[in-house]
Symmetry: C2
Subunit: 418 residues, 2 copies
Amino acid sequence: MKQNLKKELENIAKEALQASRALAVLSTGAKNAVLKDMAAALLNKRVVILKANKKDIAGSGGKGRAFIDRLTLNHARIKQMADSLLDIVKLKDPVGRVLRAWKLSNGLRINKVSSPIGVVAIIYESRPNVTSDCIGLCFKSGNSVILRGGSESLNSNIAIYNVLNAVMLKHGLPCGAINLIEVSDRKAVDILLKFNNYIDVVIPRGGEELINKVVSSSRIPVIKHYKGICHVYVDEWADLNMAEKICFNAKLQRPGVCNAMESMLVHRDAADRFLPGMLKKFKDAGVQIRGCPTTVRIAKWAKAATEKDYRTEYLDLILSVKVVQDLDAAIAHINDYGSHHSDSIVTEDRENAKRFLRRVDSACVYVNASTRFTDGNQFGMGAEIGISTDKLHARGPMGLQELTTYKYMIFGSGQIRE
Amino acid sequence: MKQNLKKELENIAKEALQASRALAVLSTGAKNAVLKDMAAALLNKRVVILKANKKDIAGSGGKGRAFIDRLTLNHARIKQMADSLLDIVKLKDPVGRVLRAWKLSNGLRINKVSSPIGVVAIIYESRPNVTSDCIGLCFKSGNSVILRGGSESLNSNIAIYNVLNAVMLKHGLPCGAINLIEVSDRKAVDILLKFNNYIDVVIPRGGEELINKVVSSSRIPVIKHYKGICHVYVDEWADLNMAEKICFNAKLQRPGVCNAMESMLVHRDAADRFLPGMLKKFKDAGVQIRGCPTTVRIAKWAKAATEKDYRTEYLDLILSVKVVQDLDAAIAHINDYGSHHSDSIVTEDRENAKRFLRRVDSACVYVNASTRFTDGNQFGMGAEIGISTDKLHARGPMGLQELTTYKYMIFGSGQIRE
């Protein structure tokens, strides 16, 4: 049984590699025509997709309301999936850009040219729309894709996949170009992660357990899309009015996402001026506070924070708060406790801002703005695969460009090395 | 014992992370001053280094002459090491470059800025000069480095390391900035590869066994510097005179390096015109040929190639030769049997050249030039850590720029997300 599974998965990976050779040289026009047909097909076949989704929802009894909300598809959400594909049509083709061109004294001309990575595997939990988003982004960037979604949305994923793959085949594209692992056997991921001869990169999107599992068993390079423990630091020289708006927005505009604030740091000389009003606002909005001793002194109703609180991504109406001695203590705390995702300083002092920007080791570092802007769409990059919390290859929002690598094309006229 | 080793290595990794925060914000002037002092110190202390090197040579009895040659240091080679450090002084600081800057309609300004990766671990075999080269490159790019050299050159590496680290300390830099693992226990590498909390990237440089070991046990992202199975394909429309010179150079100018040709492919319609003269030349130069049936028919003295020959990096005076049916067969062979390092086509046909460049999935693809140019120095990038055979983050020659990542610095005036 396990041997059969391995064989089956290896065939998928091999065909994906084979197909990637064809995708790499597709014209922009050909790719866009497919994406437009995919968008139309999603709308045409929405009843089939909604029926499959109903099965998933029926099978998820006992899970929480937020879980079921993420899982649920409806007409509007399918329309959004189709619109996302049409947005990808509008994005510039990331393949074949000349990133740099130069000439050597021996006459060799070197072009550094963007090219597809090859075969991308994406392991994800949560929303079924990820299935069509990832297919669209990988296809436009000339990569084959192997998807492994969560078992909770398997029926929905299969339905979406079948609709999109039918479009691929109608356009005469190789059947290995887009793939969905349909077996629910948990061993499938372990097996897949050993296929470093066929798969070029694995992108896990999900919780700590999933990420750790992938990192510890993968022989394929991994780009982690991990948690966001994002901070806002309110400096001694902050405009406290601005700070209040930014902190409130960073926590509450959408608490369940990775770029929401999980921890608020306040300079000790701003604490007495800032915290009473700010904490009251949070309390009124239903946010539970877990604070350091100073915080608890100022707001008696707050719970005392544990060490673990400062390392927790709540994704909920809970906020850890810490009063710090100075800017450097804030920076050290963020580098130690944070997840290197998005962190912001509120200050009117340019030197402090500069120090924060240079020394905080995160993908996105902000001055006087909410952390909620960390997002491919907000950044103007268009649709995104997600937010990389790794430093290699792609950091922060990961869009079409980050789904490419490069190669050097060297043009000679008989040059040999002396 | 193993617990002690783990503790000891963890302390090194922790201190390296701590030190990386300081290195990341060092000025270019400060870094260059250190590098100049390092170069001077290598020359001043050369007797100490040569004495240590003698011990290594004495301990390497029974190894071949090439091995001992690679291991041996002398005055000229120490001078080269010092000169390499001075070359790094001249290279532009790769940290703090604004890679892209743009403004959003809400007034947010985004700068994508190059920044150090953090902590780089390098696991290598072979030449002791790698020790000083890697220290220089990682330091200039603002990264802490943890080096693990081969046991055969341990004494030399320790001597070089001590000289360079003394300069670091004299300049008041943290002692965790440059590190050499001096314990010869083989478990050290396994332990190190689990420290993904402290180390950002591992760069293994060496043979198949080393690379496989690192890939299968690392939890840290790996950038492989692996073998070069490089091809030259002589097209039907090649200038055969040029082809002969390029193939001869690619094989023989320095056969023991990764960008030397290991396999020569020839279009079947060029075989009878090209191979007799070319193979004779190789034979006269002492190159053993392992060929396909057509090759053996043309040169009776050639050995028949096995499947394995086409997947072998000889690094020696041996060449595999294959006559192929057409351009696409050549491309398919290279993508299947090669190591995605450097491959060249010799042709006067622009369409064939273009097809080869687009479809061969290698770091460096050449038209009408020797593969021997794949080298940071030749490319004008300056000194290099090596040649990455991976596709993520860095592909091909990996120099100072490739030792950086980036972060987004976002400047606001109170922006919150609606």
